[in-house]
Structures are given as structure tokens and as C-alpha cells.
Subunit: 434 residues, 2 copies
């Protein structure tokens, strides 16, 4: 006898929306740490975030239906933190620290609704921006990206039959598992999931996280995704991002404040968090300039996250600087997180083995690698390089230079001004694939 | 909200038996064709079938629980053909022929229950035999083998967690699909599923059949599994097997009848079926001897199925014989079915391309290839060479020589006698993997 549950069948064929982001915790952990800092120190700053598709050959507005996009974004605006989520944020330890979130912050967070978005089309691309209080707009970055990416993969798979989908996911799982087997060869590896924003889909990210957990065991140190961390009892990982120095620089009233901006945010961070959370992200306005002018105390921080220089060259520069500052790199931590795949992870691991502590934040190529998995080539399954960056703070343009000119964001004239100001030594152009 | 269907959950956790063979049609088509011949011509012959595990290093009685085996065999004894199945057998065309089964035969079949089995353990192996009317015992061959093989793979997977199973099947699907992609390169290929008896499981066979159907399109000419053919509207394929000449030889009362036995069964077959069903299986007592003494009319048959000689050498011998008999091999068909995998299929196809019509019956390596798929090596997932052969007819020992001495079956003294009688030219020892 064939058994079909009628209610399930009817439900599956009549649903209005399959929400992509179903919880405000389906975001990166560092957004919450930064949000608490913004809430505490910059509650009146106004910040605008802008979606930027660097892969301009992909015309997102042609691939993704506008109404579907609006429905998904609207759904996120209907979300509030649940009691269970708030209790977990209050009761869980993060980076070994209890009560990292203040009760007043959590009380404020419990009422948070994501603000309105502005959406239009231009030249086959979406212009999607979020303007308002920095405390509110900052949380749009991750869900906006996750929605765009998953809507794109859904569109790419719409015409596939059941069997083709079955083979697609079987191959993707087999591929993922062969990566796991290679990573298992690296003793003492530390690797975590940074793949929320550019994931193929939520369910696929969850599978990949489960695969890493099963496959590499204690080498898997956690996920940046707060919801997955909560649901699977994993460590939530991540510290801070470029938006902090970008806003600080945009708000600088003179050259002195501009020069001090990258270090001022670190000072604030140290006051709030300290401990294992002291990870420097040095490349907002170029790592060379950052190191040249960094005060002595920056060398006391736990580690650096070089995010746009080639990993080996970038890591060597930082090690050199630690040595110059009289620190032992073997006590220090480098977190690699830029466009990694297994080959880059293995090469980098082998290169620095024994010379510095290392950790890898594995993103797009963990949660969105379907290359070679479809029975025929499907362009829409190839991940694109898409970001959602702060573009204005209190009306001033916000800019990122990065160590790779192709990853620079912001108004062109303002980028020019920053390059003149911070210099461009060691900035190396590299293709940005993801 | 997590939705769990309570009835399904409770059912899944309390079921008594997950039957492996759920229909008497879950068997090879040639068993039904042969059965009709037995019913018509040899209704009073008594035949005993015996399970033979050639992979003696695998101790089946240690791997498979006896009670589980009895439960599965008992379940098959509870089966009867359903009305739908009988109507389909009566109404469907096989090999382009309507009403291949006589109404009287189907009426008899509708009441058929499989007879009792004899099961005991000895030296870590099961002694499993089926004794009784040939018309009834013959149908035990396929379900008995399918049950042993699936119970063995279930036992091998019992300790695996959900995730490991997920990776196992994902890899097996990816592996199967890469075979499909290679087969797709062969224009005019004709390939069918012969994998029922040694399948990993029924569901996996169904998936593999579906994969071939989707992947190679019209090159997929059908399945030997009658149930899958009915359910998926595929051609049911297969003609005759060794048990016909084996029983005929066992019943021979003198040397003259023994020498004539292999050809007498073909004559009977021709009277009953004719047309596309005229496929010679020449190796029961050695192909060389068979060809040496074959009457002229054997060369008029559609084709040969060399089943134990190396495919290229075996095929060449038959082509040579056709030429000697003045027939054009390009009008003739060779069906290869012995331990094939993709490499052998491609090599054989390339070798004979344009010189003869070819068809491939793909068995164990289609439906039971999990090599390299488990996250760690699992011995119980490696297929074994197991058969269920007629061992006695009316109390006389039944024997098969085959072109590969390792595939010979039957009483050792009797095998010696047959070798002396039929000769052993061209018999080549080859490892029997499956």
C-alpha cells in the first residue's frame, strides 16, 4: 500500500512562502557583538548599507523575481527574537565568557524589528539599500545576502526534475565529504564555518556544518551562524568586521581622527570584550599602513584576521611585524577567511605549520560549491561575489580599501582620497571569485 | 514548528518485518518463461535447488541472523500473485509478443505458493535448499538470493549513524551517475538491468534502474526484474538459464541423451517461444563442446549469451562459429552478462563495434557497487559470489561445468564425469568476483 499523508501533500502544494531566513539568529555572530558595541557607543549614528554585486556579468534582476525577493525581505521584517533565543543568548557562554551580552542590550534586542528596505532595478541589477539607525540597519547585511543567494539557486534549480536534483545533491555531498577527508589529514587543524552569507541554501549550510562536525571532529571549532550554533550546540564564532573602522573613518572630522580611526575602534572593542575576542582585522584601509602606524598595544592582541591579502604573503607580513614588535608568533593566532577552499587551506596550513597558531574560517566554498555536481552545467549555481556594505554614516560616504583593489567599496573619489591618505603599499590586485 | 507525523513515527519504530521481497514478480523474467516451459513439458520433474556461497571467506551464518532469514523466507511463502499482477502478465507484450503466457498457465500460477525450505548452519555457512516439484522450487532462486544479499547489507549497515548512511548513499549515487555518463558516450549501446539477485537492496536497485533510464535514455532496453518492469513501464528482459540443460542432462538415461540434452532444450524452447527469444546460453557444459556438436539450426537463432568466458575471447569464438556456419555476425546478437562493469562494457563494445549486434546485461556491479562509498571500509558491503543452483533432478545430481572451472557447480565426481564426456577445451580459470 502506498501511504501518502494528505495534509502534508496539500500543504506542500499550496504554500505561499518557503522562508529563507526564519530567525533573526540566522546571522553571523559578529553582527551581534558589533551590534552591542554600536548600541552602547553609537546609538545615534545613522548608517546606510548597500548591496553590491561584484559579478556584474550576472544580472540578478533577470534571475530573481522581484516579488519573491520582496516577500522574503518582508518575512524577515516580521521576525522578532523568540524567548528561547533570548534566553540562550543570555545563558550561553561565548569564547569562554558568560554573560557577554548585557541584560539591557538583550531587553532592547527583544523588541528589534528590521527596518524598511529600498528596492529598485537598474540595468539588470537590484539596487537594494537599508537606511536608518546603524543599530537596526547593520542586521540586514547577512539575511539580505542569504536571501539573494538562495533565491538565485532556487531559480537555477526550478526547471530540474526530481532525479536531477537527487543526483545534484548526492554529488555535492560526495564532493563535500572528499574535502572533509582531505582536511582530516591535517593534525591540529582548527576550522569553522563562515558560510552563511553566500550559502546555496539554509538546509545545505546545515548539512555542510553537520558534515564538518562528523568528519573532522574536534578540528571543527564552530560556526559563525548563531542559529546553527544554538540548535546544534556548537561554538558561535566571529569577532568584528570592516564596518567598524569604515564608519569610524567616515565620521572622522579631520586628518588626525581619520588616522586614528582604525585603532580607536580596537580600543573600544578591547574595553567591551577583551580576551579571546581580540582579533584585529587590519585591511580596511590597507594592512601595510595599518601595521606601520599601529600602536604597541595592538601587538598584545590574540591575533589577526588577514581578509584580502593572499594568505601566505599576508600572514608573513603580520608575523614579521609581530617579530619586530618583540612578540613570539607561536603564541599568536592568524585567522584566514578570504575565499578559501581545501587547496588553499592545506597550502596555508603546511606553510605556517609550527610557526604560528592558525584558524580557518571557511565560507562560500564550504556552503556553496556545486561546481561539477549538476548533470549539466547550470550557470545559476555558480556562486557570485556579492556583499552588503556600509556606504554612508551620518551622510558621509563610507569606504573600504582592502589589500585587494578589487575588493574596495565606496564612492570612487572618496576611495582616491583614502588611498592618498593611507597609501597603497602592498595592495595586490587579485581576481575576486567569491 | 517541527512537524512529526505521529502515526508514521510509531509505525517506523514498531514494525515487525521490513520485507525484502514483497511480490512474486520481484524475480527475473526468465524464471517465468522457463517456468511456463517446465509447467508444460516437465510438470512431474522433481528438482532441488541449493544455495552456494562461492566466497567462502565470508561466513554468512555469522553475518546474518537465522531468525531474520527465516522471517524473510516465510514472508515470501505468504505471497501470492495479485490480480493486478496476473492481469499485467496476461495483457502485456513481451519481446514484441502478446499473450506469451497461456491462460491455463496463468490460472495455475495464480494459486502458486512457494514450497517449504530447508535451512541449517554448518561451518559458518547456511545450508539452504528447496526440494519439491521443479515448477515450484525454481521460483525460489531469485528471492532467496535477494534476501541473503539484502540481509547481509542490512547487517553491515546496522551500526552506521544517519549521517554516515547519508554520505554512503550520496557517494553511491554519484558513483553510479559517473558510470552513466561514461556509458552515454557509446552510440547505439544497448544495456539492461540484470542485477536483481545480487542487489544491495530492492530500493537501491530501483534507484539504479531509474538512473539508467534517465541517464542513457533509449540505450536502456529494460530490466530483468518483472516487478520493476511492471511498475516503471519498462521492457522485461531475459530468456533462459542453465537450469534447463542441467536438468535435461541430469535426466539423460544414456550417453546419447546426455550428448543431445543441450540441444533438446533449445528445440523445446523454439517450439514454445521462437522469435526474439531465441538466445542460446552455450556454456552449461563448455562452449567449445557445445559449438563442436551444435546442429545447423542453432545458427539460425537470434544470438548467444556467453556467460562465463572472458567476453572478448568468448565473443570471438562465437563469431568464428557463425562465420563457419555461413551466417553474417552483423545480423546476430551477443548478450554479455558475466560480472560486467563499465570498463568491461566499454572495452567489449569498442572491440566488437560494427562487427556484431551487442547487448549488455549489467548485474552485480550495477546494483551492488558500494566500493569506496562508506566513510570507512565496511567488509559486509562488498558483494559476494553467491548462486542458487539446481543440484538434483528426480534424485540425479545436476551439474554445470561452465567455461570457467571456478563457476562449475555440482557433485565433484559427477563434474569429472561430465568433463570427460564433454571435454574441457577452452575452459579458462578466472577469478569469480561476483
Amino acid at each position: 500500500m502506498t501511504k501518502t499523508d494528505i495534509a502534508t501533500r496539500v500543504h506542500n502544494h499550496t504554500w505561499k512562502l518557503d522562508p529563507i531566513v526564519r530567525s533573526l539568529l540566522d546571522t553571523d555572530f559578529y553582527k551581534l557583538l558589533m551590534l552591542q558595541m554600536i548600541w552602547k557607543l553609537h546609538p545615534r549614528v545613522h548608517a546606510k548599507f548597500t548591496l553590491i554585486n561584484r559579478t556584474t556579468s550576472v544580472r540578478l534582476a533577470d534571475e530573481i523575481d522581484e516579488q519573491e525577493l520582496r516577500d522574503q525581505l518582508d518575512y524577515v521584517r516580521s521576525l522578532r527574537l523568540s524567548k528561547k533565543e533570548l534566553i540562550w543568548l543570555a545563558g550561553n557562554s561565548f569564547y569562554g565568557r558568560a554573560q557577554i551580552f548585557e541584560p539591557e542590550f538583550l531587553a532592547w534586542l527583544s523588541n528589534l524589528q528590521l527596518p524598511e528596505y529600498q528596492l529598485s532595478k537598474r540595468d539588470g541589477q537590484y539596487e537594494l539599500t537599508f537606511a536608518g539607525s546603524w543599530m537596526e540597519t547593520t542586521l540586514w547585511e547577512i539575511p539580505a545576502l542569504a536571501i539573494i543567494n538562495e533565491l538565485r539557486s532556487r531559480a537555477a534549480m526550478r526547471s530540474l526534475g526530481y532525479f536531477t536534483l537527487d543526483v545534484l545533491y548526492a554529488r555535492a555531498k560526495a564532493k563535500m565529504w572528499s574535502k572533509v577527508e582531505r582536511l582530516r589529514e591535517l593534525p591540529g587543524l582548527r576550522i569553522s564555518d563562515f558560510g552563511t552569507r553566500r550559502r546555496h541554501s539554509f538546509l545545505w549550510q546545515r548539512w555542510c556544518v553537520e558534515a564538518l562536525k562528523e568528519g573532522v571532529g574536534p578540528a571543527f571549532t564552530g560556526t559563525s551562524n548563531v542559529l546553527l550554533a544554538m540548535d546544534s550546540d556548537l561554538e558561535a564564532v566571529g569577532t568584528n568586521a570592516h564596518e567598524l573602522p569604515m564608519v569610524a573613518a567616515a565620521l572622522a572630522r579631520n586628518d588626525e581622527e581619520l588616522a586614528a580611526a582604525p585603532y580607536k575602534v580596537l580600543k573600544d572593542w578591547n574595553r567591551l570584550y577583551g580576551g579571546n575576542l581580540l582579533i584585529v582585522l587590519p585591511d580596511a584601509f590597507g594592512t601595510a599602513s595599518f601595521l606601520d602606524h599601529a600602536p604597541e598595544w595592538v601587538a598584545d592582541w590574540t591575533g589577526f584576521r588577514p581578509d584580502s591579502a593572499p594568505p601566505i604573503e599576508g600572514g608573513e607580513k603580520i608575523i614579521e611585524w609581530w617579530k619586530k614588535m618583540g612578540r613570539d608568533p607561536r603564541q599568536k593566532l592568524l585567522i584566514f577567511s578570504d575565499g578559501l577552499d581545501v587547496d588553499a587551506i592545506i597550502d596555508t596550513y603546511r606553510h605556517f605549520e609550527g610557526r604560528v597558531r592558525m584558524s580557518f574560517g571557511w565560507g562560500t566554498n564550504l556552503t556553496n560549491d556545486f561546481s561539477g555536481c549538476a548533470p549539466h552545467e547550470i550557470a545559476g549555481l555558480k556562486p557570485i561575489s556579492i556583499v552588503c556594505k556600509v556606504s554612508e554614516a551620518n551622510g558621509h560616504p563610507a569606504v573600504k580599501l582592502s589589500d585587494n583593489p578589487r575588493k574596495a567599496t565606496g564612492d570612487a573619489k572618496e576611495v582616491e582620497r583614502y588611498i592618498k591618505f593611507f597609501g597603497s603599499r602592498d595592495r595586490v590586485e587579485q581576481a575576486v571569485l567569491v
